[in-house]
């Protein structure tokens, strides 16, 4: 049995063991009776389903392989020995956070009346008041459950605190950025989780993103970071496409291809090492839409119980929570500044005079229950720094710099008309996009249902070649950000 050295940034070793190896795993009868007893004794707790990368689903049932502390700090890999080990982790890697500043992925820490640490878990969701609504945790040798914070209070106590905790050392940590501001933690702040700078298409081997070209060979690249003292060896980078939406169930991710990647270890406390994996070839065919979402998974292992696997996938198919999974939903739209010609969305053909470019966005309820879907549409002119931050061609940034407005607020020289299609929309805010943006809602969309937004974009007189506008479409379902997309409008001469 692999028994690696887990250590805090303060150099303190975290005691851990493999209870299943010491005592033997629970028998099938014990697993069944424990699970049945748990569900009967704590009504409302939800067993956690784990969906492997081959889409097979399994319930995380009672097991001696890992306990609550190992789920929280070294996912599902071992049994961390004691509350004082947890205290050592919190001392070196944790910052206490207070309501209402708790975020999804923060650690909940339960203590007894005498302040002994009894249990930990991760915040799974927040309610409308930013209070933790559900926790995900492993209950000793019972199963892994989602539950209201005080569901297990009779066992673990009611004294709870919340902590933002950076990863401990020695567990492996292959990592890709959800967006430029990703802090490596579960569900990084900011909702641009569909704008990973670490996934791009470039057919010349460059490191900036270009639109994939339909019916031609394209090259996809993924930048993988390693922030741990153990090397990432022989991981598989998997890349997928899907329709462009604000959230797409894993069953609609279509495999493009894979490539291997290894990333050297870093030193304790040193900067992460980075390797670019690729190219992964892709020729979009007739089944792919003109503009696709792209996803990448750094597959370090999707067996939740393989103790020897470094940094396994913890939340498969979950872009926001798992730091091995990224998404890019960005499309570059070159447009003529002249009033007499308008390129089509791919920038290749010339449309009729005065015709707007038509862009699509599909909003979808990705939850397993009927829920409100909200899409916020905003547009603003962006400068060179932000263009580079989006991972776009430095030449575009250079041109934008040359025509940068002197005043911070300048009226947009691009007109956008938003037309909702589908029966579930209840629009508010009008159809023409203004500086305030638009909010479009579906009060209660059935699971898997949604509607299309059609954006008609037209440059107006005064638009200068080199200007770049960013149209953001951000989707929330049941109040929770599920994704979105960005159209980058580049004004040409």
């Amino acid at each position: 049995m692999t028994h690696r050295v887990l250590v805090t940034s303060a150099g303190v070793t975290i005691n851990h063991s493999h209870e299943d190896a010491i005592h033997g795993e629970l028998t099938p009868a014990q697993i069944a009776s424990t699970q049945a007893n748990a569900l009967a004794q704590y009504p409302g707790i939800q067993p956690v389903e784990y969906i492997r990368l081959n889409h097979a689903s399994e319930t995380l049932l009672p097991t001696r392989k890992y306990n609550c502390w190992a789920f929280t700090f070294n996912p599902r890999q071992c049994w961390i020995s004691s509350g004082p080990d947890v205290q050592n982790i919190l001392d070196a890697h944790g910052t206490q956070v207070f309501l209402p500043n708790v975020r999804v992925g923060d650690v909940i820490c339960y203590r007894s009346a005498s302040s002994v640490i009894t249990h930990t878990g991760r915040v799974w969701s927040l309610n409308a008041s930013n209070q933790p609504a559900l926790i995900q945790s492993k209950w000793g040798s019972w199963g892994e459950y989602r539950h209201v914070p005080l569901a297990p209070s009779d066992v673990y106590g009611t004294n709870v605190t919340y902590w933002r905790v950076t990863p401990i050392w020695g567990k492996g940590d292959a990592w890709v950025k959800d967006h430029a501001g990703d802090d490596r933690l579960v569900e990084p702040p900011g909702i641009d989780l569909y704008l990973s700078p670490d996934l791009w298409c470039n057919n010349s081997g460059g490191t900036f993103h270009e639109n994939p070209v339909r019916a031609q060979p394209n090259q996809l690249w993924v930048r993988v970071h390693n922030a741990d003292t153990l090397a990432v060896a022989g991981a598989t980078v998997r890349v997928y496409w899907s329709d462009p939406t604000g959230g797409m169930p894993h069953t609609d991710w279509h495999a493009i291809g894979t490539t291997g990647v290894s990333v050297p270890a870093t030193t304790l406390g040193g900067p992460p090492n980075t390797v670019v994996a690729g190219p992964i070839p892709w020729t979009p065919g007739v089944s792919e839409p003109q503009h696709c979402c792209l996803f990448a998974i750094v597959d370090t292992g999707d067996d939740p119980f393989a103790a020897a696997t470094l940094d396994p996938i913890v939340w498969p198919w979950d872009v926001a929570r798992d730091n091995n999974i990224i998404w890019k939903n960005m499309w570059i739209v070159p447009m003529s500044s002249g009033p007499s010609e308008t390129p089509t969305a791919d920038g290749a053909g010339q449309g009729g005079a005065g015709k707007p470019v038509s862009l699509d966005f599909v909003a979808k309820n990705v939850m397993g229950f009927a829920a409100a879907v909200e899409v916020r549409v905003r547009m603003r002119q962006i400068g060179a720094k932000e263009i580079l931050g989006l991972g776009l061609d430095p030449a575009i940034a250079g041109q934008a710099e040359a025509v940068a407005p002197r005043l911070p607020f300048r009226r947009s020289k691009v007109r956008v008309q938003v037309r909702p299609e589908g029966e579930f929309w209840a629009r508010r805010g009008g159809g023409a996009l203004t500086g305030k943006g638009l909010v479009l809602t579906m009060p209660k969309a059935p699971p898997g249902e949604g509607g299309r937004l059609r954006l008609e974009v037209t440059p107006i007189p005064g638009a200068k070649p080199g200007e770049v506008y960013r149209i953001d479409l951000r989707q929330k379902v049941a109040g929770h950000p599920t994704g979105g997309g960005v159209y980058v409008i580049v004004i040409r001469g």
Binding site: E19, I22, N37, S82, G83
Partner: protein, 142 residues
């Protein structure tokens, strides 16, 4: 309650069910303390040899830390120091590094030896080693 029925509590599914939610010896002990039926072992030194005998059986493969924990807790309740020492020593020989059974045994050992660690304290491997050496002498091993 007949002795056999009382001893059967230590292997009762419901008794052990809650203890399965323990990630640490402290939590396991807290759960046992709240289970009123187990209080019937309080002062029952006459049952200690039977508990010890059962504990020895449970320490054979496969071992179950919650069952072992229940027996150690019951032994402590009986107050029979000789059997407490023997039970703790047997457990430490096999499960010294275990965060549940090993820690519970170390706490029982500390109690027998007149040391009183904080109930929630995690006893470091060095402290457990030291306790085991002293305890083995107490139970007659070299």
């Amino acid at each position: 309650m007949a002795d056999e029925k009382l001893l059967a509590l230590l292997e009762d599914q419901h008794t052990l069910f809650l203890a399965g939610a323990a990630s640490s010896a402290y939590v396991m002990r807290s759960i046992f303390e709240r289970m009123k039926p187990l209080r019937q072992f309080d002062g029952r030194a006459d049952l200690a040899p039977a508990i010890l005998e059962r504990l020895a059986t449970h320490l054979q493969e496969p071992k179950d830390p919650t069952v072992i924990g229940a027996h150690l807790y019951a032994l402590e309740l009986t107050g029979a120091s000789k059997e407490m020492a023997q039970g703790a020593a047997m457990t430490l020989r096999r499960l010294k590094d275990d965060p549940l059974a090993g820690q519970l045994a170390a706490h029982v050992a500390a109690t027998v030896l007149g040391k009183r660690p904080e109930p929630g304290a995690f006893l470091t491997p060095e402290v457990v080693d030291e306790l085991q050496v002293v305890l083995e002498k107490e139970v007659g091993r070299p």
